[in-house]
Amino acid sequence: MTPDIAVAQGEWTLPDRGKVGVACLIATEFALFTIFLVAYVFYLGKSLSGPNPGQVLELPLWPTFCLLSSSLTVGIAERALKRSRRRGFIVWTGVTILLGLEFLRQTALEWRHLISDWHLTITTNLFGTTFYSLVGLHASHVVLGLTLLTFTFALGLRGSMDGQGRRFELLAWYWHFVDAVWVAVFTIVYVVGR
């Protein structure tokens, strides 16, 4: 029985497995955030006491600007890497990290204000519970993204990121997702829910 099989070169192209994998990861994280958003919306107006969103929340325009810009800058860094412009990659990755850090700093300031001035904590009422868990979950994803970006920044300094445009693109996808979640949080928590 002769095998009628052969490996042929050429036209059989399938999607890149890294992209499929990260797309699935993003899908699962999307589902996770959706549930926390649903909980937030469900409990709007149901707190038995304590400060409510309208009283204590201010539109976080500057942090939002930082985070959304960082999507732009990470895209520029990605393109630079794919065009083998190491310096550009390092610079723009660094800018992305700084913008992300500023976002986190602003979140921390906001939380300090809420806790010390308004005495709003996760245990205060349903608003506190759902607000801190949702924004906290998002912030933890920002931290994770920043950690990975810092890794790639350090690797970039050493020259180890050369030719890794495909891999960095996957990290950029994750970063874009984190930003998209922030758009949803911003809209639901700070715009609609206030």
């Binding site: 890149d16 497995r17 994998g21 699935c24 699962t28």
Partner: protein, 558 residues
Amino acid sequence: MATIGYIGEQLKEPEAPPVPSRLHDWLVTVDHKRLGIMYIATALFFFAVAGVLAALMRIQLAFPNGTFLPPQVFNRLFTMHGTTMVFLVGMPFFAGLANYLVPLMIGARDMAFPRLNAFGYWMFLFGGILLYFSYIAGEGLAGHGTAPDVGWFAYAPLTERAFSRGTSTDYWILSIIVSGIGSTSSAINVIATIVSMRCKGMTLALMPLFVWLMLVVSAMVVMVLPPLTAAQIMLLLDRYLGAHFFDTQAGGSAVLWQHFFWLFGHPEVYVLMLPGFACASEIIPVFSRKPIFGRAAMIGATIAIGILAVGVWAHHMFAVGMAPVSNIFFAAATMLVGVPTGIKIFNWVGTMYGGKLRFDTPMLFCVAFLFQFLIAGLTGVMMAAAPLDWQLTDSYFVVAHFHYVLLGGLLFTLFGAVYYWFPKATGRMLNETLGKWHFWLLVIGFHITFDTLHFAGILGMPRRIYTYAAGRGWEGLNLVASIGVIFQAAGVACLIWNIIHSVRKGALAGDDPWDAWTLEWATTSPPPEYNFVVLPEVRSSRPLWDLKHPEDPDWKYE
């Protein structure tokens, strides 16, 4: 039997390396075949453990006013039995079968992410160990050494700090989060493998049904595990940081937990069952000597199940007091998801019809599966009618129903799969006589126990009770149900003995002992680490049929 020659045939058996070195190889392996075997072996181990837990419960319930077990022990037993069977038996069986077979069936050398594969296995194992560690280290209402006792779906606010003191509930939460990370990793890996690593010519339309089903299962896992994880994170925040997600005293909603849990929980039962369908869809055609009847319809029905399954969750909540329109919607949706499921049953029967049926052990299990899953589906339709569910939910009727699905349906197909693919994985056949003993003992025991328990529910026996008074009409039924356990245990013992014995001494299998048609049978048994000497190229969904029947290949008709 058709065998495909390969290059580099070994001339002599090399000396086996020393045991510690062999163990180390298994510990650090990223080979999908080894990990698949590890998943399945571990799942079988947890199955035996959970089976013992069930046997203990049935001893307690065999007689009214039982004193064999105190209440707290019984309550831990049903919690651990359910949690183990779902997360430590069902999920790893999916992962094990998918990881072992998908690369072989699509003509690839390994999974897309071999190290992620290993990571997933070890997370699953550690999650399982963490759950059982609670027996030693957990604290509960009755002191130290308590496993969780909140039921496998852990309704709030029973799980809140006020009502579940100590750490036993936290073991439930954390172990499932950990093993859930493993399941999600497997699912992502399976999707990436199927999308990105099929051999030349294997379009999505030509993939074996097994692979299609694993693709849909994996997509479901990716989307529906997060609601459970989210709810568990919220519960942890409630228990440890004073949050109020499910704290009814602070305005929180106990029903919200149920919505989140069942949003996961219902698709989960399809996640558990679909791999069983996958096995049946491979075994039934081979032992009927015909291709699957209605391939496209089977694929369509699978996708329909995957989508519809996410829209029926609140049929677990009919008694919660939802609005009539919600109850009616979920009743309709639940009945509707029975349609594609029924279509599958019809197509399997259609495959057998007009065939030349061989009743080796894998096929015996699949035939019993068809009868039993039919009944399971129909009792499900009964409970989809919400008012009928108001009587039957939370009673032994629903217990009988889901054991019909998961034992009579899933486990039977998984056992069939073990007999079917054991030769491929080990190179040796399982003993047919022992296989038939396993089958018949299991069938008899299963029906003695679970047919009977339907009636206990009809006569008003609620679930999760550690004992009951005489005179309620439940004594005889419970005694009979408990007797059935003896037969089931004997059947499973046959399987375990069969495996232990046949691994060393079973008859040699060869590449293709069943005269089958998918790519895993186109390489040696067991396959070499690289799976195929030369990656195959296919033109139809049954590449080996085409090779064995060049005058009548499938690709002329598909």
